[in-house]
Symmetry: C2
Subunit: 181 residues, 2 copies
Protein backbone atom coordinates (compact mmCIF):
# COMPACT_ATOMS: atom_id res chain seq x y z
CA UNK A 1 0.00 0.00 0.00
CA UNK A 2 1.26 3.48 -0.83
CA UNK A 3 1.70 6.27 1.72
CA UNK A 4 -0.94 8.48 0.07
CA UNK A 5 -4.40 7.00 -0.30
CA UNK A 6 -6.41 6.53 -3.48
CA UNK A 7 -8.63 9.36 -2.24
CA UNK A 8 -5.83 11.83 -2.94
CA UNK A 9 -5.63 10.52 -6.50
CA UNK A 10 -9.41 10.81 -7.02
CA UNK A 11 -9.41 14.31 -5.53
CA UNK A 12 -6.64 15.53 -7.82
CA UNK A 13 -8.22 14.09 -10.96
CA UNK A 14 -11.59 15.65 -10.08
CA UNK A 15 -10.05 19.04 -9.46
CA UNK A 16 -8.21 18.86 -12.80
CA UNK A 17 -11.49 18.31 -14.63
CA UNK A 18 -12.98 21.29 -12.81
CA UNK A 19 -10.25 23.67 -14.03
CA UNK A 20 -12.08 24.26 -17.31
CA UNK A 21 -15.44 22.64 -16.67
CA UNK A 22 -17.54 25.68 -17.61
CA UNK A 23 -20.66 24.55 -15.76
CA UNK A 24 -20.73 23.21 -12.18
CA UNK A 25 -20.29 19.43 -12.17
CA UNK A 26 -22.15 17.11 -9.82
CA UNK A 27 -20.37 14.48 -7.78
CA UNK A 28 -22.08 11.75 -9.83
CA UNK A 29 -21.13 13.36 -13.17
CA UNK A 30 -17.51 13.68 -12.06
CA UNK A 31 -17.48 10.01 -11.02
CA UNK A 32 -18.99 8.87 -14.35
CA UNK A 33 -16.70 11.09 -16.40
CA UNK A 34 -13.72 9.35 -14.81
CA UNK A 35 -15.06 5.83 -14.29
CA UNK A 36 -14.50 5.97 -10.53
CA UNK A 37 -16.67 5.02 -7.54
CA UNK A 38 -19.51 7.56 -7.02
CA UNK A 39 -19.86 6.63 -3.33
CA UNK A 40 -16.16 7.19 -2.65
CA UNK A 41 -16.19 10.47 -4.53
CA UNK A 42 -19.24 11.62 -2.54
CA UNK A 43 -17.02 11.46 0.56
CA UNK A 44 -14.07 13.23 -1.05
CA UNK A 45 -15.72 16.35 -2.46
CA UNK A 46 -17.06 17.60 0.91
CA UNK A 47 -13.50 17.41 2.26
CA UNK A 48 -12.27 19.55 -0.64
CA UNK A 49 -15.10 21.98 0.06
CA UNK A 50 -14.26 22.14 3.76
CA UNK A 51 -10.66 22.98 2.83
CA UNK A 52 -11.87 25.82 0.58
CA UNK A 53 -10.68 24.22 -2.68
CA UNK A 54 -14.14 23.77 -4.25
CA UNK A 55 -17.52 25.35 -3.63
CA UNK A 56 -20.89 23.73 -4.16
CA UNK A 57 -23.82 25.34 -5.89
CA UNK A 58 -27.11 24.00 -4.59
CA UNK A 59 -30.09 22.73 -6.57
CA UNK A 60 -30.64 19.99 -9.12
CA UNK A 61 -28.57 21.75 -11.79
CA UNK A 62 -25.90 22.75 -9.26
CA UNK A 63 -22.65 20.99 -8.54
CA UNK A 64 -19.05 21.74 -7.73
CA UNK A 65 -16.62 24.29 -9.13
CA UNK A 66 -13.17 25.44 -8.06
CA UNK A 67 -13.31 27.94 -5.20
CA UNK A 68 -10.15 29.72 -6.36
CA UNK A 69 -7.93 29.88 -9.45
CA UNK A 70 -6.12 26.68 -10.44
CA UNK A 71 -2.82 28.56 -10.06
CA UNK A 72 -3.67 28.99 -6.36
CA UNK A 73 -4.39 25.32 -5.64
CA UNK A 74 -1.19 23.37 -4.98
CA UNK A 75 -0.78 19.63 -4.73
CA UNK A 76 0.04 20.15 -1.07
CA UNK A 77 -3.33 21.88 -0.53
CA UNK A 78 -5.08 18.82 -1.94
CA UNK A 79 -3.01 16.27 -0.01
CA UNK A 80 -3.61 18.15 3.26
CA UNK A 81 -7.34 18.52 2.50
CA UNK A 82 -7.67 14.75 2.11
CA UNK A 83 -5.04 13.37 4.47
CA UNK A 84 -5.48 16.02 7.14
CA UNK A 85 -1.84 17.14 7.40
CA UNK A 86 -0.80 13.55 8.23
CA UNK A 87 2.84 13.58 9.40
CA UNK A 88 5.53 11.52 7.69
CA UNK A 89 6.70 10.25 11.07
CA UNK A 90 5.14 10.11 14.50
CA UNK A 91 7.96 10.45 17.07
CA UNK A 92 7.21 8.49 20.23
CA UNK A 93 10.18 9.97 22.12
CA UNK A 94 11.77 6.56 22.56
CA UNK A 95 14.99 8.37 23.52
CA UNK A 96 13.51 9.08 26.98
CA UNK A 97 13.12 5.40 27.86
CA UNK A 98 16.78 4.31 27.88
CA UNK A 99 17.36 1.81 30.71
CA UNK A 100 20.60 3.59 31.65
CA UNK A 101 18.60 6.69 32.66
CA UNK A 102 16.69 4.88 35.41
CA UNK A 103 13.37 6.43 36.43
CA UNK A 104 13.77 9.76 34.69
CA UNK A 105 15.56 10.86 31.52
CA UNK A 106 18.10 13.64 32.17
CA UNK A 107 17.49 17.09 30.68
CA UNK A 108 20.20 16.73 28.01
CA UNK A 109 18.48 13.63 26.59
CA UNK A 110 15.20 15.41 25.85
CA UNK A 111 16.63 18.78 24.80
CA UNK A 112 15.54 19.83 21.31
CA UNK A 113 14.03 17.53 18.72
CA UNK A 114 15.08 13.85 18.71
CA UNK A 115 17.87 13.42 16.13
CA UNK A 116 15.90 10.75 14.26
CA UNK A 117 12.78 12.89 14.22
CA UNK A 118 14.83 15.85 12.94
CA UNK A 119 15.90 13.87 9.85
CA UNK A 120 12.30 12.81 9.25
CA UNK A 121 11.17 16.43 9.50
CA UNK A 122 13.77 17.40 6.88
CA UNK A 123 12.47 14.65 4.58
CA UNK A 124 8.87 15.69 5.17
CA UNK A 125 9.73 19.30 4.47
CA UNK A 126 11.42 18.31 1.21
CA UNK A 127 8.33 16.33 0.16
CA UNK A 128 5.91 19.09 1.15
CA UNK A 129 8.05 21.67 -0.65
CA UNK A 130 7.85 19.67 -3.88
CA UNK A 131 4.07 19.28 -3.51
CA UNK A 132 3.66 23.00 -2.74
CA UNK A 133 5.66 23.94 -5.84
CA UNK A 134 3.16 22.40 -8.26
CA UNK A 135 -0.34 23.71 -8.87
CA UNK A 136 -3.38 22.29 -10.62
CA UNK A 137 -2.74 24.88 -13.33
CA UNK A 138 0.72 23.39 -14.03
CA UNK A 139 -0.64 19.89 -14.62
CA UNK A 140 -3.69 21.17 -16.49
CA UNK A 141 -1.37 23.02 -18.88
CA UNK A 142 0.77 19.90 -19.36
CA UNK A 143 -2.32 17.82 -20.25
CA UNK A 144 -3.56 20.55 -22.61
CA UNK A 145 -0.22 20.48 -24.46
CA UNK A 146 -0.58 16.73 -25.04
CA UNK A 147 -4.29 16.58 -25.90
CA UNK A 148 -5.78 17.31 -29.35
CA UNK A 149 -7.27 20.81 -29.68
CA UNK A 150 -10.83 19.44 -29.59
CA UNK A 151 -10.45 17.46 -26.35
CA UNK A 152 -11.21 20.23 -23.89
CA UNK A 153 -14.38 21.18 -25.77
CA UNK A 154 -15.44 17.51 -25.84
CA UNK A 155 -15.19 17.26 -22.06
CA UNK A 156 -16.96 20.58 -21.59
CA UNK A 157 -19.69 19.34 -23.93
CA UNK A 158 -20.03 16.08 -21.99
CA UNK A 159 -20.39 17.94 -18.69
CA UNK A 160 -22.76 20.54 -20.20
CA UNK A 161 -25.04 17.84 -21.59
CA UNK A 162 -25.15 16.23 -18.15
CA UNK A 163 -25.83 19.60 -16.57
CA UNK A 164 -28.61 20.38 -19.02
CA UNK A 165 -30.13 16.92 -18.55
CA UNK A 166 -30.28 17.49 -14.81
CA UNK A 167 -32.08 20.83 -15.38
CA UNK A 168 -34.48 19.24 -17.90
CA UNK A 169 -35.15 16.37 -15.51
CA UNK A 170 -36.17 18.89 -12.92
CA UNK A 171 -38.42 20.79 -15.33
CA UNK A 172 -40.12 17.53 -16.34
CA UNK A 173 -40.70 16.65 -12.71
CA UNK A 174 -42.12 20.10 -12.04
CA UNK A 175 -44.50 20.00 -15.03
CA UNK A 176 -45.57 16.39 -14.53
CA UNK A 177 -49.01 15.69 -13.08
CA UNK A 178 -49.09 14.29 -9.58
CA UNK A 179 -48.39 10.63 -9.53
CA UNK A 180 -51.54 8.54 -9.03
CA UNK A 181 -50.86 5.76 -6.54
Amino acid sequence: MAHLTGSVEYALHCLLWLVDAGTPASSRDLAELQGISPSLLAKILPRLEKAGLVESIGGVSGGYRLARPATAISFLDVVDAIEGDKPLFDCQEIRTRCAVFGERAPAWATRGVCGIHAVMLEAEQAMRGALAARSLADVHAAVARKAPAAFEAEVRGWLERRHAARGAGRRRTRGAPDRIP
Copy 2:
Protein backbone atom coordinates in the same frame (compact mmCIF):
# COMPACT_ATOMS: atom_id res chain seq x y z
CA MET B 1 -1.52 7.64 11.71
CA ALA B 2 1.79 8.70 10.22
CA HIS B 3 3.01 7.59 6.78
CA LEU B 4 6.01 5.74 8.25
CA THR B 5 5.27 3.04 10.79
CA GLY B 6 6.53 2.77 14.35
CA SER B 7 8.70 -0.10 13.11
CA VAL B 8 10.89 2.39 11.25
CA GLU B 9 11.34 4.34 14.47
CA TYR B 10 12.26 1.21 16.46
CA ALA B 11 14.67 0.10 13.73
CA LEU B 12 16.48 3.45 13.64
CA HIS B 13 16.82 3.66 17.41
CA CYS B 14 18.17 0.09 17.56
CA LEU B 15 20.70 0.75 14.85
CA LEU B 16 21.88 3.91 16.61
CA TRP B 17 22.62 1.91 19.78
CA LEU B 18 24.56 -0.59 17.70
CA VAL B 19 26.91 2.09 16.29
CA ASP B 20 29.13 1.89 19.36
CA ALA B 21 27.79 -1.16 21.14
CA GLY B 22 31.14 -2.94 21.45
CA THR B 23 29.65 -6.41 21.97
CA PRO B 24 26.83 -7.93 19.89
CA ALA B 25 23.45 -7.09 21.42
CA SER B 26 20.56 -9.54 21.53
CA SER B 27 17.11 -8.56 20.37
CA ARG B 28 15.86 -8.80 23.98
CA ASP B 29 18.68 -6.63 25.35
CA LEU B 30 18.04 -3.98 22.69
CA ALA B 31 14.33 -3.98 23.57
CA GLU B 32 15.03 -3.66 27.30
CA LEU B 33 17.66 -0.98 26.82
CA GLN B 34 15.06 1.14 25.03
CA GLY B 35 11.88 0.16 26.88
CA ILE B 36 10.21 -1.10 23.69
CA SER B 37 8.25 -4.25 22.85
CA PRO B 38 10.58 -7.30 22.57
CA SER B 39 8.09 -9.17 20.36
CA LEU B 40 7.85 -6.28 17.88
CA LEU B 41 11.61 -5.85 17.83
CA ALA B 42 12.05 -9.60 17.19
CA LYS B 43 10.23 -9.05 13.87
CA ILE B 44 12.19 -5.92 12.94
CA LEU B 45 15.77 -7.12 13.35
CA PRO B 46 15.46 -9.97 10.81
CA ARG B 47 14.28 -7.43 8.24
CA LEU B 48 17.35 -5.29 8.91
CA GLU B 49 19.49 -8.40 8.57
CA LYS B 50 17.84 -9.37 5.29
CA ALA B 51 18.60 -5.86 3.97
CA GLY B 52 22.26 -6.25 4.93
CA LEU B 53 22.23 -3.54 7.60
CA VAL B 54 22.94 -5.81 10.58
CA GLU B 55 24.44 -9.27 10.93
CA SER B 56 23.64 -11.80 13.62
CA ILE B 57 26.19 -13.78 15.52
CA GLY B 58 24.80 -17.12 16.66
CA GLY B 59 24.91 -18.69 20.09
CA VAL B 60 23.72 -17.66 23.56
CA SER B 61 26.28 -14.86 23.85
CA GLY B 62 25.72 -13.77 20.24
CA GLY B 63 23.44 -11.04 19.01
CA TYR B 64 23.32 -8.31 16.40
CA ARG B 65 25.93 -5.85 15.20
CA LEU B 66 26.06 -3.43 12.28
CA ALA B 67 26.96 -5.15 9.02
CA ARG B 68 28.72 -2.06 7.64
CA PRO B 69 30.03 1.28 8.90
CA ALA B 70 27.45 3.71 10.29
CA THR B 71 28.55 6.24 7.63
CA ALA B 72 27.32 3.75 5.00
CA ILE B 73 23.83 3.23 6.46
CA SER B 74 21.46 5.98 5.39
CA PHE B 75 18.00 6.70 6.75
CA LEU B 76 16.69 5.70 3.34
CA ASP B 77 18.35 2.26 3.67
CA VAL B 78 16.50 1.73 6.95
CA VAL B 79 13.13 3.01 5.69
CA ASP B 80 13.37 0.76 2.62
CA ALA B 81 14.45 -2.23 4.74
CA ILE B 82 11.35 -1.88 6.91
CA GLU B 83 8.74 -0.47 4.53
CA GLY B 84 9.91 -2.40 1.49
CA ASP B 85 10.35 0.55 -0.89
CA LYS B 86 6.69 1.53 -0.38
CA PRO B 87 5.79 4.20 -2.95
CA LEU B 88 4.45 7.60 -1.93
CA PHE B 89 1.66 7.26 -4.47
CA ASP B 90 0.14 4.32 -6.32
CA CYS B 91 -1.05 5.60 -9.71
CA GLN B 92 -4.15 3.72 -10.88
CA GLU B 93 -4.06 5.30 -14.36
CA ILE B 94 -7.45 6.93 -13.88
CA ARG B 95 -6.66 9.08 -16.91
CA THR B 96 -7.43 6.11 -19.19
CA ARG B 97 -11.04 5.82 -18.01
CA CYS B 98 -12.43 9.17 -19.21
CA ALA B 99 -16.00 8.68 -20.49
CA VAL B 100 -15.24 10.88 -23.51
CA PHE B 101 -12.74 8.28 -24.77
CA GLY B 102 -15.37 5.54 -25.13
CA GLU B 103 -14.07 1.97 -25.11
CA ARG B 104 -10.38 2.69 -25.49
CA ALA B 105 -8.19 5.62 -24.41
CA PRO B 106 -6.34 7.22 -27.34
CA ALA B 107 -2.55 6.94 -27.50
CA TRP B 108 -1.95 10.60 -26.57
CA ALA B 109 -3.83 10.12 -23.27
CA THR B 110 -1.54 7.36 -22.02
CA ARG B 111 1.75 8.69 -23.40
CA GLY B 112 4.37 9.20 -20.70
CA VAL B 113 3.71 9.33 -16.98
CA CYS B 114 0.36 10.70 -15.79
CA GLY B 115 0.84 14.40 -14.90
CA ILE B 116 -0.42 13.85 -11.35
CA HIS B 117 1.83 10.84 -10.88
CA ALA B 118 4.79 12.87 -12.18
CA VAL B 119 4.36 15.47 -9.42
CA MET B 120 4.10 12.71 -6.82
CA LEU B 121 7.30 11.14 -8.15
CA GLU B 122 9.06 14.53 -7.78
CA ALA B 123 7.82 14.77 -4.17
CA GLU B 124 8.88 11.19 -3.44
CA GLN B 125 12.29 11.83 -4.95
CA ALA B 126 12.71 14.93 -2.77
CA MET B 127 11.80 12.92 0.33
CA ARG B 128 14.04 9.99 -0.57
CA GLY B 129 16.90 12.39 -1.36
CA ALA B 130 16.64 13.92 2.12
CA LEU B 131 16.57 10.46 3.73
CA ALA B 132 19.53 9.29 1.65
CA ALA B 133 21.56 12.36 2.64
CA ARG B 134 21.60 11.43 6.34
CA SER B 135 23.43 8.47 7.81
CA LEU B 136 23.35 6.75 11.18
CA ALA B 137 26.80 8.24 11.78
CA ASP B 138 25.42 11.80 11.40
CA VAL B 139 22.76 11.29 14.06
CA HIS B 140 25.08 9.31 16.31
CA ALA B 141 27.57 12.20 16.22
CA ALA B 142 24.79 14.70 17.04
CA VAL B 143 23.72 12.64 20.07
CA ALA B 144 27.35 12.29 21.20
CA ARG B 145 27.73 16.09 21.09
CA LYS B 146 24.73 16.50 23.43
CA ALA B 147 25.43 13.64 25.84
CA PRO B 148 27.83 13.81 28.81
CA ALA B 149 31.25 12.24 28.17
CA ALA B 150 30.41 9.21 30.33
CA PHE B 151 27.14 8.29 28.62
CA GLU B 152 28.53 6.18 25.82
CA ALA B 153 30.60 4.13 28.28
CA GLU B 154 27.53 3.65 30.49
CA VAL B 155 25.54 2.20 27.61
CA ARG B 156 28.45 -0.01 26.53
CA GLY B 157 28.76 -1.18 30.15
CA TRP B 158 25.03 -1.98 30.32
CA LEU B 159 25.20 -4.02 27.11
CA GLU B 160 28.45 -5.73 28.15
CA ARG B 161 26.96 -6.80 31.49
CA ARG B 162 23.97 -8.28 29.66
CA HIS B 163 26.28 -10.00 27.20
CA ALA B 164 28.42 -11.44 30.01
CA ALA B 165 25.32 -12.57 31.93
CA ARG B 166 24.10 -14.47 28.88
CA GLY B 167 27.51 -16.19 28.58
CA ALA B 168 27.56 -16.99 32.31
CA GLY B 169 24.02 -18.36 32.10
CA ARG B 170 25.16 -20.70 29.39
CA ARG B 171 28.21 -21.83 31.31
CA ARG B 172 26.03 -22.52 34.36
CA THR B 173 23.65 -24.56 32.22
CA ARG B 174 26.54 -26.53 30.72
CA GLY B 175 28.08 -27.27 34.12
CA ALA B 176 24.82 -28.13 35.82
CA PRO B 177 24.04 -31.76 36.56
CA ASP B 178 21.27 -33.36 34.54
CA ARG B 179 17.90 -32.42 35.85
CA ILE B 180 16.28 -35.26 37.79
CA PRO B 181 12.62 -35.51 36.85
